[in-house]
Amino acid sequence: MNNKRSQIVSFSIIIILYAVLEILLKTGNLSSLFSSLLIPVCCYMAAAIGLNLNVGISGELNLGQAGFMSIGAFTGICVSGMLSGVISNGVIRLVTAMIVGMILAGVFGILIGIPTLKLSGDYLAIVTLAFGEIIKSLVTNLYLGMDSRGLHFSFVQNKVSLEPGGKMLLNGAMGATGTERIASFTAGVILVLICLAFVYNLMDSGSGRAIMAARDNRIAASSIGIDVTRTKMLAFVVSAGMAGAAGALYGLSFSTLEPRKFDFNLSIMILVYVVLGGLGNMTGTLIATMLLVTLPQMLRGLSDFRMLIYAIVLIAMMLITNNEKVKIFIEKMRLRRKEKGAGNGEN
């Protein structure tokens, strides 16, 4: 298969884009609008790569990716805030925050996955949808502060009273304020590359084959000794972990972040990147994410119409890519290219 080739394409896209953007950034040729998008795009990509493992390769619909990002984001912000007095190096603090965010999101993934992944059907979709809403609601009501005596938290009402010099890490519906922005574009690109390498290598291994087998035929997979629940769990937890790490990076790139940022619409947005990019197709996910994040920005001149156009593009894309005639045409093109390739002694 041309798996190897698509891997090379994905890595090249990211590295070349990184080089170009970094040069533009350093020479001051990138508009502030675009440079403000760089880190978020990396975060969406990482979360989308994870989600593609879960939805595309494992075949389970997940409507709560924003919930995992939220866990990662606010965990990361808190970890970074708590460590700010201990570790002065921003990079080490960022990496620590991302790892803790990833682990916590993964743990939540396991908690949700254990009861749900045993069942087939759309259960994961519904439960993850509910999970995303629950997380949003819980974080919106969480107050967390830190002073020299340690951590203080309260729920629903802000009852945290801090010593002078203490600071609030989470402020209920206002979320995190005054966050030190230690995230960087380079960190984002490295995160995307790690996620890509992780998913590609996992897919090309026993676990990857088990995940795909469980997707294609649950009963046959069990009949050859594949523990379906466990393999689905692996894909789900990796996806959640990636969203957690991405969320931590995201959270540490803004000085203020509200919990309602991670709502159902964000989950859907990431799912759209995955579906439009092609299920199981990581290169497609990367391209779709870049295009769809920049599209509304490019349409900014159309102000009020941009989201309308976005919606129409979304519907049109789905109708076109699922049109029988278009499908046949694409298949023909693919075969022709293959023949040509074989003729030239490639492959």
Binding site: N201, S205, R209, A213, N217, I219, L234
Partner: protein
């Protein structure tokens, strides 16, 4: 035909009810090492249900299944396969979105000892074992005549090849007992002939026992050493092909009164 050996499979008093309806009752069967056994019966007799109980897709309501000297009660589908029973399905169940090679490689997951971390980091332990798995898979594909198609998607194979791939995948799990559910369904006489040779040769090569459900009498009578006839969920008769062919009860069950 070592009849003095311990049986590989010993089923006694097996039965299952679906919502008050008894699908299989008091089913007993003994399969010896290296035996090819046929399970026949009219449509709806409960043959596939027996397979589903043997492989724990369904939990039997009654009876015992002793496989390889061990009681299998409480085992899951996965544990049964790991213990050494593999199967094919009446309505083909391939991993149609995966390549032919990957379908077989997926069957070898039981032997993998490397962890996910060494897979992601491509450690030597991973590379070594993957190489072995690939070689063994290609070998199996060659036996089943699928080597040239190994990079095709399983769903794009012709029907007969799909049936053979299902057998190859089942064999990849390294079973002691192979259950074939209508392996010749939809095949033409020539393909059936080839299939018979293939079934015999894998039995000899891998030293396994085979239990097969089949409607094609030419195949059943041709390769099975012993046949069990099921009717209305109960064993009607058991014997060698010639005994079965001459059993008036069997003839009556098939032809009606």
């Amino acid at each position: 035909m070592g009849k003095t050996d311990d049986p590989v499979l010993k089923v006694e008093g097996l039965g299952i009810d679906f919502g008050g309806l008894t699908a299989v009752n008091d089913f007993s069967l003994t399969v010896y090492p290296n035996e090819i056994r046929g399970l026949i019966g009219p449509n709806g007799a409960g043959k596939t249900t027996v397979f589903n109980m043997l492989t724990k897709v369904y939990d039997p309501s009654r009876g015992t299944i002793i496989f390889d000297g061990k009681d299998t009660s409480g085992m899951t589908e996965v544990e049964i396969n790991r213990a050494g029973i593999a199967r094919t399905f009446q309505n083909i169940r391939l991993f149609s979105g995966m390549t032919v090679l990957d379908n077989v490689r997926a069957g070898m997951n039981g032997v993998i000892t490397y962890g996910n971390l060494s897979a992601v980091l491509r450690l030597p332990s991973f590379r070594k074992q993957e190489k072995e798995i690939r070689e063994r898979s290609v070998e199996l594909l060659e036996i089943f005549g699928l080597k040239d198609d190994m990079d095709l998607l399983a769903g794009n194979l012709p029907y007969g090849a799909q049936r053979r791939l299902e057998m190859a995948r089942a064999m990849a799990t390294g079973p002691k007992l192979l259950l074939l559910d209508e392996p010749a369904a939809g095949m033409n006489p020539q393909e059936t002939e080839e299939l018979m040779d293939m079934v015999r040769s894998i039995r000899d090569r891998f030293d396994i026992s085979i239990l097969l459900i089949e409607h094609d009498m030419q195949l059943v009578m041709g390769i099975c050493e012993k046949i069990t006839v099921l009717n209305y969920g109960m064993v009607l008769s058991e014997g060698t092909p010639s005994e079965i062919q001459n059993d008036p009860q069997v003839i009556k069950a098939y032809l009606g009164d």
